[in-house]
């Protein structure tokens, strides 16, 4: 965390600009938080509309849901779960940064911790979510 305070030759980048926020974990987690949040917003819009079809008729609901039952949509579901899980974990990190006295100092370590949790959850999660599609695609008994 120490930053050199010695003067640098004019024209060279000082380390300060790159070490605090910009271009570092703090910035990229913020970017990822935005992207995953906006994606989830648009999914929720579609999800409420398609589920509202249960109020129209069982047939219309089943017809639309049936169009989701293929490996391609299954992959998008895994992507959605990955996006939501990152957004949830990083959101908890943001709460810790805002409300926990040691949060701001540990923000970078907390980011790598949630990335680790994300991987540990997503590997088996994606496996179980894709299991059925795998059997459809490759006909495993």
């Amino acid at each position: 965390m120490s930053t050199p305070t010695t003067a640098r030759p004019a024209g060279t980048r000082t380390r300060l600009g790159g070490t605090l926020y910009r271009g570092r974990e703090g910035m990229w987690s913020w970017v990822a938080h935005r992207i995953t949040g906006v994606l989830t917003f648009f999914f929720l819009f579609a999800h409420v509309l398609d589920t509202a079809l249960v109020r129209v008729s069982p047939e219309s609901y089943d017809t639309v849901i049936d169009t989701y039952k293929n490996p391609f949509v299954n992959l998008m579901e895994i992507g959605l779960v990955g996006a939501v899980l990152f957004h949830a974990l990083n959101g908890l990190r943001i709460v810790a940064v805002d409300f926990w006295s040691r949060g701001p100092r540990l923000q970078r370590q907390m980011l790598w911790a949630i990335v680790a949790v994300w991987v540990v959850v997503m590997v088996p999660g994606a496996f179980f979510m894709f299991k059925h599609s795998f059997e459809v695609l490759f006909g495993a008994g």
Partner: protein, 138 residues
Amino acid sequence: MTAAGVRIDPPRSPSTRRLRGRTNTELYAWLFMRVSGILLVVLVLGHLFIMNILDGGVQRINFGFVAGRWASPFWQVWDLLMLWLAQLHGSNGLRTVINDYTRKDATRFWLKMALYTASVVVIALGTLVIFTFDPSIS
């Protein structure tokens, strides 16, 4: 910590504009994002885990599945809470995104109108469906 000649204001130090008797709406919005976010971690991750892993994913979903689920008041309340919190949380998030990236006042205004319209439609429609769901509809 500070290099020569570089000074950085403490984060969230009030601007002079903020100090001159303005409302606390943004503070409440900020707090709402954190409170609703923590609740949504439980509601949404629980929902995703149950639907996609425990109950076998979209493959098993049809009208009968939904009817069986909403036969229980517990899941009705769960889904209703999740709907309201998620839509309000998402709307406030998109409001922030719109504020950050729009340059013209008219663009900002119309994007927000579209956002608020979509949010009201989603919350009203979702609430109506949960409360008026009829498993014997045909």
